[in-house]
Amino acid sequence: MIFVRLEPESEDLTLPKPNTVLQLLNRLQLGRTQALVIRSGELLTPDRRIHDGDRIEIRKVTSAG
């Protein structure tokens, strides 16, 4: 399992562990450049591996306006 915080909705999700950031984005139906993916204060590129128990913040970048 991994723990995902979605911003700006401030929504918390618990998901089965995907292998990579790209898989995680796909599962949330987000394109590679539609959100920042942050783990322990670090930005992750789509090819990075995800580990069991990871806490990840997903920050969507589209501003309303």
Binding site: E7, L36, L43, T45, D47, S63, A64, G65
Partner: protein
Amino acid sequence: MKCRRCKALAAVALPSHHAGFCPDCFRKFFLKQVETAIRRKKMILPEDKILVALSGGKDSLALMEALTRLGYQPVGLHVDLKIPGSSDVARKTVEDFCSRRGLRLIVADMEEWGLPIPEVRRKVKRPICSICGKIKRHAFNRIALEQGFDVLATGHNLDDETARLFANTLRWDEAHMAGQSPSLPAENGFARKIKPLYRLSEFETAAFAFLTDIEYTTAPCPYSRGASFTAHKALLAQLEARSPGSKISFYEGFLERGRPAFQNRDSDKEQLAPCQYCGMPTSAGACGVCRVRQLLQQS
């Protein structure tokens, strides 16, 4: 993925540039894009006094940060609209950003200007966003004019610009296409208007904001009816995902080959005179914003 420049672990992947960058090289890449935009479109001359419109969102704050890092000395301008639930957060975000970085900030308080948006919304029948936009532009222009700024910079990015161009194209809105540019010359007593982030996507400005420790607000305005361009942005994002680089070539191609055709139409140039109340250039005796203010005072 490795950084294209230094081979360290990449933090940002940019499909449109077929490249990944580590945090340090990404910041350099970003600043270089801003520098290129400024140079190619002759946005800023030496000695220019620069005013940056700061909403508190990531784009305007990233712009302020980038200009400062490039050695400019921009002054921030925040328009406090007095909208419950969003204006307080926005103002505090901008004030904190500027004080932490030692940057000069001007706050235009719409309550003091006799134009608090909630009251405007109650009294004026037209859709609030168009009037609110008009009031913001009025405040920017007026502060720029009264305080002697040469340039007014806004944080519009490539996604904003392509979404707007797409909307204008769908309607073949010739007048707006003639006027859409990342650098509009000073005219009729208005300062030059520039968009130094026009080559950078929303994703890139968000990454830059994150990698320069910018705290920005995402609190939506309660009057927003789900921004009109969001659907267009989504369409363009799909196109970009399928063929990376389409957004920038759509926009740069328009600037080079599309816009000149519309500009040549020489749209009937309006005769402008100073507004009798605030002195801003207008085609009527009193400008649109002063008429709204009077309406509020009457009732």
